[in-house]
Amino acid sequence: MSGFHQIPKLPHRFFKWYCKKDLYEEIHGDLEEYFYERVNEKGLKKAQRMYWWDVIKCCQPYAWKGLESQTNSNIAMFKNFYYTTIRNLLKHKSYFAINVLGLSVGIACLVFITLFLINELSYDRFHSNYQSIYRVGNEAVIRGEPNKQATTSGPMAQILLDNYPEAIKATRIHASGQLLIGKGGKKINEEGILFASESFFDVFDFHLLKGDPETALKHPKSMVISESYVKKYFGDGDPMGQKLSVDEDTTFYTITGVVEDVPANSHIKFNLLGSISSNKRWNVNRWVGTSQHTYVVLNEGVDIPEFEKKIHQVFYDHMAPEIEYYTGLKISEWEASGNTVEFKLKPIADIHLKSDSLGELEPSGNIAHLYIYGLIGVVILFIAVFNFINLATAHSSTRAKEVGIRKVIGSNKRTLVFQFLFESILIASIACSVGLVLVMILKPYFISLIGKEISFSILYSFYGLGTLLLLAIVVGLLAGFYPSFVLSSFKPVAVLKGKAQSGRNSIGWLRNFLVTIQFATSIIIIIGTFVVYNQVNYMTSKNLGFDKEQTLVIQRPDWLKSNLEVFKQEIRRNPNVNQVANSETIPGKNYEIRSYRKVDAAETFLFLNNQVTYEHMEVLGLELVAGRFFSKEFPSDSNAVVINESAAEAFGYDDPIGKPLTSAFKKDRPIKIIGVIKDYQFESLHKATAPLSLELDQSNNSGFISVQIVNSENILETVTYIDETYRKLAGDKPMQSFFFDEEYERLYKTEVSTARVLVIFASISVFIACIGLIGLITYSAALRRKEIGIRKVLGAATSSLVKLLSGNVVRLIIIATVISWPLAYLATDYWLQNFADRIELNPWIYLGSTICLVLIVGFAISFQTIKAALSNPVESLRDE
């Protein structure tokens, strides 16, 4: 027909696809008639479009292929599949149990890990304009040492807004340490209270339930409180306009807003948010040594590197003069001696995972750990899937007759494949449901395991459940794909005559292959666990060069005001207290930077610094290498400095004692090096030891008081005594304190929790691999019952039978070992690169993990092999 080629091909093909064959001619004839008519009347384009529409409209049950005539038999077929599956599962309960147990545990692990990954990867993306929010930090290079800070100075936000049209909005945040919050007579130490400028709610999408987002943080002494803290402090009452005291009994903040609880995937977390205008010290125009978090919203299409170059002017205009003041150098000289400070913009969504800056509001996640977790989730699922494949193929002989009969009756290979896929999808669905129940039960344990709150709401949403269903289907297909082909390819004549092979020869290699992979991954996970554990153990128990055991650290010495010395005297009197010292900072906390110059040289040395008292060395148990520590007998020690070995090396002095220095912080008065202490690890082991200087500040009442307790038996009593003394001298304020060693371990929080997670998941993966193996051995022992019986009758010893049954397993473990060791080495080496100070490669870990696996597997299969080997041959042989 002349016009036929004008009919659009795609809808025509679609029509042909869905339309019943015997209706095609008449219906399509109608459509064509319309089409040609319309071509004449309305033009080709329009006719084609209308044809599309017709095809879509005609796609209705009356025209569909197949359904009407086949529906009934299809349903019957599915019913039959369903019943066959259920009957089979009930008949082979242990087989079913192993499959469902393995798969559901695997799925539960995967769900947990996926939720965790979603949480980590979705950080800060809930702000509607998150793509244009940037955090301004600084990257400095001080004497060749790079130093990245998440913070900049307070005035930064306003300067960007005023001078750079690219910036539309900006806000800044001051993070305070612990503060004492009071309501009525009740006082509670609250951690992590933030203070922000009034534009905070304009930049971020934190939702205010009560109060005006534009003015909530405008006035000094305003405070926004989270929903859950409303309950904590005000119960069911209305918090608006109420007052809370902050730190001092006489400082009151007025509640001006209630904010929805901050989501778990926000790096800015707060329950109380005060106005930054409340405290003058947070609003001074100082650039060196101030630290506030600055966030800026940029116009679309701003070129970030270009903008960073542009705002470098801010450095010259504001920061440089202060640097010149403190170092006594012209800024050009300062830069010439290898120092730079640059302001860098980081997209807010990258802060959680891609930041290596110091001073983050929340410790950053480690992308390497995410990879590890994700990999483990998939690995565990695959170990379970492999179990399924192995058991299904091993079990195939029990289904051989069924396949034979089905084929004889007229089933073809395709329907049989379909049947077995249906079966495995059904099992996977059951496993998914069980897995979901496991997730619900184990949720609180998982949260405490990873040590952070994550959101589970997505799991119960439409998407979550849909994905889970999809997962069931995918897992079912993965697991059932191979077995279904094996099972459906049985030759009916052979199986019905009873010649069915259990598939030992033809598919044995696959089973061996899968078991080997299971073993290999188990070994890698075990090695990984050992390495992580050892590293964490090494870090927490390494001799760091100072004592942190039995040391109570008291925060907020400033509340003692002028009673600081009295307090120290007072508690020294307790016989259980060995020594008391106060210092600006302690190992593991932040150290500030001080600059020094040799008296007659221009070069500036920047060292980390601590302000200490006479007793500092004794309390920390530091070791003196040369010279002496600060002492009351030398009044001139206020102009003296003690340095560590690294600092001495930086100066290039062989004998630094007595060498004069100047320091901008000491107004260029000459100061003398009086002692050198042995290097000690005062930062976390992620970093190498840096140069350090100690200066004397006997009356310093910021920082920490460290109390070394000698008698460990009545520690509680001693702490109570210290607490009471503190209350007495600090105007009835409660003491805030922690034990040094416990606090120090928090530096390795992510490593410790990774180690714990790894141990759990390693156990789970080995467990799943083992139950699969037990299933396999049980089955092969059952198959070889007669063989074993005959061997026994002929005089085989039990030991040789055990060897017969488990010999293959040993061989597989050896192969797995060979594969897994190099892989494990690469993996652990990658992780250990996170640490400046890392453990050595320990061959015992490798050997140990293989031995570990051999033992576990040996134990797991011994019951079955020994049972089979010990069984009475009469039992297995008499029925013939």
Partner: protein, 112 residues
């Protein structure tokens, strides 16, 4: 009235139109006739659906004609009313007339 002769409103129109078009009652023509007579334009698929359903109910029967060039050389299915179809139409009509006649004149008096 038995459920077997139940007719949907659109089905009834299709059935009637098949009768009207006698000997040339196939989907396209029926659709056009309905459009012409009632001013109601529907997609041809709706007509198909009704036709096949009516045939299944036994109210219509059909046969294929010779191929026609205006249809791309395809045959068309021409429908005709069966006695059962006529009965259904009559019953439906009867029911309507009977119900209509039972309406009291007062029900149409709006201006009181």
């Amino acid at each position: 009235m038995g459920g077997r002769t139940q007719l949907g409103e659109f089905e009834e129109i299709v059935l009637l139109t098949v009768g009207v078009l006698y000997e040339d009652a196939y989907a396209v023509a029926i659709n056009k006739e309905i459009a012409k007579q009632s001013g109601r334009s529907v997609n041809v698929s709706a007509v198909h659906k009704s036709l096949y359903r009516l045939e299944k109910k036994g109210m219509l029967e059909s046969q294929l004609t010779d191929p026609e060039s205006k249809r791309g050389g395809k045959r068309k299915r021409v429908f005709s009313i069966t006695p059962f179809g006529k009965k259904a139409l009559d019953e439906a009509m009867e029911l309507r007339t009977s119900l209509r006649n039972q309406i009291h004149e007062l029900a149409f008096k709006w201006d009181k």
